[in-house]
């Protein structure tokens, strides 16, 4: 290996962008076009693994692109949290492309070339967010991500898609311009740096009022974290094709949001400072409320994707909550939950899409008896649901466990009750689907003119792989936690 680390980092961010000309060039040749996406995703995963190895070996991984304004650079620096996010996003991109091949063709979607092109750009933006060295770089890629996912959300081009896109972009842009940007500017003026610094950037003795206001601005400014009351964009964005919902709105976009919150808490404020702020307690209450309310709303949703969307809002609440607990275990639990929830939720969305393509069903109440026709899909759904609930043998167990430890560490015992209650609600609204599918019999009246059976094989393969990964994560959680310990140490 003679590649310099700078080149390696730049390539990691640029690889998806470099795939775009290939995707456009082969716009009319489906197989080649998807091959380009697959190859780019494979290369990206390989590059991320490469970075991971070097990080493990103790190499300092940093790169700088431009100095945009004096003192404000577009620069990258790799630490364990961002590394993990990059690994998740790149590997799941690969799986999602495999899935999309089955879904988009099975569903005869229009404008597939545009879909794959913007998808690649979105992944590049996610990599930029994950590897950012400073808040400014993160903000730039965060905004790019909002904009380049807009055409994906409105892919269908219908009035509903247009409206969904309007809410999506409206909330994400306005929160970032009205709250995130001024918070960043004030931070810059106050501390003179936006670099992510272990222990935070603010000098001791910075006014508590100022810090409290800043924390609030950040918490609401990062609209992608979908903290209530700025969560409406997420259900709206579900008009997107399922692969988009799966990767972007269960993994990349929302995780970019909570990742930003986590980064700000740990590297801009420092967890000690956050813990000492009076406003933190209220943010913890808000996150808890977000968790429970979103679950309650989810229970009332009959549309599968809408139910999953509210489930995501609830689960994002876990991650935000862990960040605001501001203890070592809280942060670790948050970081871990980014990974665990990603694997679980993408599987659930894949299953929802598979059900739509194979059986043309979108409502929970229509699923009766479907388990016999689509056993693999619903088995995968069950596993992923267990992971979201947090039951062994799935990865979600560990993140919830660690979050609970974090709550105890911070003397926030009511959080334990909230987490337990949330698990119960999860059981109700998630396991209802496989229960209906497996235990009830199909309504007799239905004239079954669909071919029955499973979704196209690429989609089925993808969802089985991600479901299995939920189980694998249960057994590999130890090493991951060890790796992530580095967050608070660096």
């Amino acid at each position: 290996m003679t590649m310099t680390t700078e080149l390696l980092i730049s390539l990691t961010i640029l690889t998806p962008v470099l795939a775009v000309p290939g995707i456009l060039l082969f716009g009319n040749k489906q197989n080649l076009r998807e091959a380009v996406s697959l190859i780019a995703a494979a290369v990206l995963t390989w590059l991320s693994l490469n970075l991971f190895q070097q990080l493990q070996a103790g190499t300092v991984l940093a790169a700088q692109w431009w100095e945009l304004l004096p003192g404000l650079t577009i620069a990258f620096h790799i630490e364990p949290l961002g590394m993990m996010f990059a690994l998740i996003a790149s590997s799941l991109w690969f799986v999602t492309v495999v899935y999309a091949i089955g879904y988009m063709r099975g569903h005869n979607e229009q404008n597939q070339t545009r879909f794959y092109a913007y998808f690649a750009v979105a992944i590049a933006a996610v990599m930029g967010v994950a590897l950012a060295e400073n808040l400014f770089t993160l903000f730039v890629f965060y905004e790019v991500l909002s904009l380049c996912t807009y055409p994906l959300v409105t892919h269908a081009g219908t009035d509903k898609a247009k409206h969904g896109g309007r809410v999506y972009l409206g909330i994400l842009l306005s929160t970032s311009i009205a709250f995130f940007l001024p918070a960043m500017i004030i931070t810059w003026m106050q501390s003179g740096t936006l670099s992510f610094t272990p222990g935070g950037v603010f000098a001791d003795g910075t006014s508590v009022v100022l810090l409290s206001v800043l924390l609030l601005l950040f918490a609401f400014g990062v609209g992608k974290a979908a903290l209530m009351p700025f969560h409406r964009w997420l259900p709206s964005a579900m008009v997107a094709p399922t692969p988009v919902s799966a990767l972007l709105h269960a993994v990349a976009v929302v995780k970019a949001g909570v990742f930003t919150v986590l980064k700000v808490v740990v590297f801009i404020f420092g967890i000690d400072a956050v813990q000492s702020l009076p406003v933190t307690q209220w943010l913890i209450y808000l996150a808890c409320a977000s968790i429970l309310l979103a679950s309650l709303v989810a229970m009332r949703q009959d549309n599968i994707k809408a139910r999953l969307a509210y489930s995501t809002i609830s689960q994002l609440g876990y991650i935000t909550l862990g960040a605001f607990l501001a203890s070592a275990n809280g942060v670790l639990g948050s970081a871990l939950h980014i990974a665990m929830h990603a694997a679980g939720k993408i599987t659930l969305f894949f299953c929802a899409g598979a059900i739509y393509v194979a059986a043309h069903k979108t409502l929970v109440s229509e699923l009766d008896g479907l388990g016999r026709k689509m056993p693999y899909t619903f088995a995968a759904f069950t596993i992923a649901a267990l992971s979201i609930i947090g039951l062994p043998p799935t990865g979600g167990t560990w993140s919830k466990w660690t979050l609970m430890l974090g709550a105890v560490d911070s003397d926030q015992l009511f959080v334990l009750a909230v987490l337990a209650l949330s698990s119960l609600l999860n059981i109700v609204y998630l396991l209802e689907l496989p229960a209906r599918a497996f235990l009830r019999s199909a309504p007799a009246s239905e004239s079954d003119h669909h071919h029955g059976g499973e979704a196209p094989w690429p989609s089925l393969l993808a969802l089985c792989v991600t479901a299995l990964s939920c189980i694998v994560l249960f057994f590999t959680a130890g090493p991951i936690m060890q790796f992530l310990q580095g967050i608070s140490l660096t």
């Binding site: 431009w66 945009l68 304004l69 004096p70 903000f139 730039v140 905004e143 790019v144 904009l147 409105t154 081009g157 009035d159 898609a161 247009k162 309007r166 972009l169 409206g170 842009l173 306005s174 311009i177 009205a178 940007l181 001024p182 500017i185 004030i186 810059w188 003026m189």
Partner: protein
């Protein structure tokens, strides 16, 4: 030769205008105007380089030394603006031949280019001169030619718009002339630097105060500062598309320059901060301009008119920066001068392309544009994103500096309002985007993408919007030094 650059900058387009009349044929006139404008751009590049390396240049017309003769004085501020005006004129001219051929009657096209060159000469003259009366002369040269340019619009309402502007513009110019006359009365000089030295002695007199008031109000009329902006939307909406792009990118910038020059150089920062709360007034008017014009823009049916209102809003931002009265505020204003020229240039150029193909810029006629004119539609989107102030575009740089400048003064409500104002831009841009991308084009007509000769300069501007949003070294360092120089002038 190099030492004569300051006068060449002005005299070249001024002499080219009558020569253009002799050429006669529109195609020739266009080529000649383009070449002249390009040469002017080259000269302003050389000037900026020279000023940047060696400091301000004084050039005495006919060898008569100031303050008796007319002095042309080029410092960083006007060198920077000369470059903005001449380069925008060149880029816009490059893309206008078809547009002018389609929108202006054949027998008037040569006249069009003659007026364009005269307008360019007037604008460059205002910028280059160091003589207050000379400013008035060139102001009239540029204004009269602008009235002509606007009245050449296809719609008959253009005549009315032009007449409206003629009345308001004449009042403005008269006010400026009265102001200059009063200053001459008190000091006996017209040279700006000389004025700057002599005015402080008589600063406490009512006459000088009146002079200042006349000049500021006169300039604000030309500037279209709220509530003196009513001429602008009509003038921009009914002028030929190319003229709108040219004026939006240059003419208001020159007016802002005059405001800065008179406030900071001639009267001095101390004087303008003195008796009346002018700074607070500027900030308040600027904010009202941002909100009222943006809201009106959201309601417009004709997109050219909507973007014209957006110009009034953007001028508001510039005036807020000016009203702060600090180096950071001035720098934000100067940066936005440059950045706004780029974004408005790109937006109006893309609308010119639309007008060329569709014959209209009404919102309904833009339906499905993304399918028929994908490159033009995309250019509009990118220009719009820059206007909103998305990172990696020039608009973001402007916003960043302006917000920092207001926060430095502790005016956080102003900063908050500025940011909320930029959300209004999202609304009036996005309603266009939705129509272009989600509505199906009417089936009856066949429309193809704009010709390469239009797309090339259009995309040049779009790329400049992104390039200068990433590599900000040139505008940021030039404006920082220019702002420092302005505040330190009198001392």
């Amino acid at each position: 030769m190099l030492s004569h650059l300051p006068i060449l900058q002005v005299i070249l387009p001024l002499l080219a205008a009558p020569s253009c009349l002799i050429l006669g044929r529109p195609a020739l006139a266009w080529g000649f105007s383009f070449a002249t404008s390009a040469a002017a751009m080259l000269i302003s590049m050389l000037l900026l380089q020279q000023v940047w390396l060696e400091g301000p240049i004084s050039y005495f017309l006919g060898g008569w030394e100031a303050p008796w003769g007319i002095e042309y004085r080029i410092d960083l501020l006007n060198a920077f603006l000369l470059l903005i005006v001449s380069s925008l004129s060149t880029v816009v001219l490059a893309g206008t031949r078809q547009s002018v051929a389609a929108e202006v009657e054949a027998n008037r096209q040569t006249l069009f280019y003659v007026s364009w060159l005269l307008c360019l000469a007037g604008l460059l003259g205002i910028l280059a001169t160091g003589d207050a009366f000379n400013v008035f002369v060139f102001l009239e040269v540029s204004s009269l030619s602008t009235y002509t340019l606007i009245s050449l619009g296809r719609d008959r309402k253009a005549l009315w718009a032009s007449y409206q502007y003629l009345i308001v513009g004449t009042i403005g110019a008269t006010f400026i002339l009265i102001g200059i006359g009063l200053m001459y009365m008190m000091t006996g000089t017209l040279n700006m630097q000389d004025l700057a030295q002599r005015l402080p002695v008589v600063a406490d007199t009512r006459t000088v105060f009146a002079a200042y008031a006349f000049v500021i109000v006169g300039v604000c009329l030309k500037l279209a500062l709220f509530p003196l902006h009513l001429w602008l939307p009509n003038a921009y909406a009914y002028a030929p598309s190319a003229v709108t792009a040219f004026l939006a990118a240059t003419a208001t910038k020159v007016a802002v320059y005059l405001l800065i020059r008179f406030s900071f150089t001639v009267f001095g920062a101390d004087f303008s901060a003195m008796d009346i709360p002018l700074h607070q007034l500027f900030i308040a008017l600027g904010l009202i301009a941002v909100f009222s014009a943006s809201l009106v823009a959201i309601l417009q049916i004709d997109i050219k008119r909507a973007i014209a209102y957006s110009s009034v809003a953007q001028i508001g931002y510039m005036i807020i920066g000016l009203g702060l009265g600090t180096a950071a505020g001035l720098q934000a204003t100067l940066l936005h001068l440059f950045n706004h020229a780029l974004m408005k240039g790109a937006l109006f150029m893309s609308l010119a392309a639309v007008a060329l193909r569709m014959g209209s810029t009404r919102l309904d006629d833009l339906a499905g544009l993304s399918q028929r004119m994908p490159l033009t539609a995309m250019a509009f989107v990118l220009g719009g994103l820059s206007l909103i102030g998305v990172p990696l575009t020039v608009g973001f740089i402007s916003k960043w500096y302006l917000v920092i400048a207001t926060l430095e003064m502790g005016m956080w409500p102003v900063a908050a309002l500025i940011l909320v104002g930029s959300l209004l831009a999202v609304m009036y841009i996005w309603r266009v985007v939705e129509v272009m991308y989600f509505r199906d084009p009417p089936a009856s007509t066949q429309v193809s993408e704009a010709p390469v000769s239009v797309l090339l300069p259009l995309w040049l501007l779009v790329i400049a919007n992104i390039y200068f949003g990433i590599d900000t070294a040139l505008p940021v360092s030039v404006t920082a030094d220019a702002a420092q120089a302005l505040l330190g002038w009198g001392k």
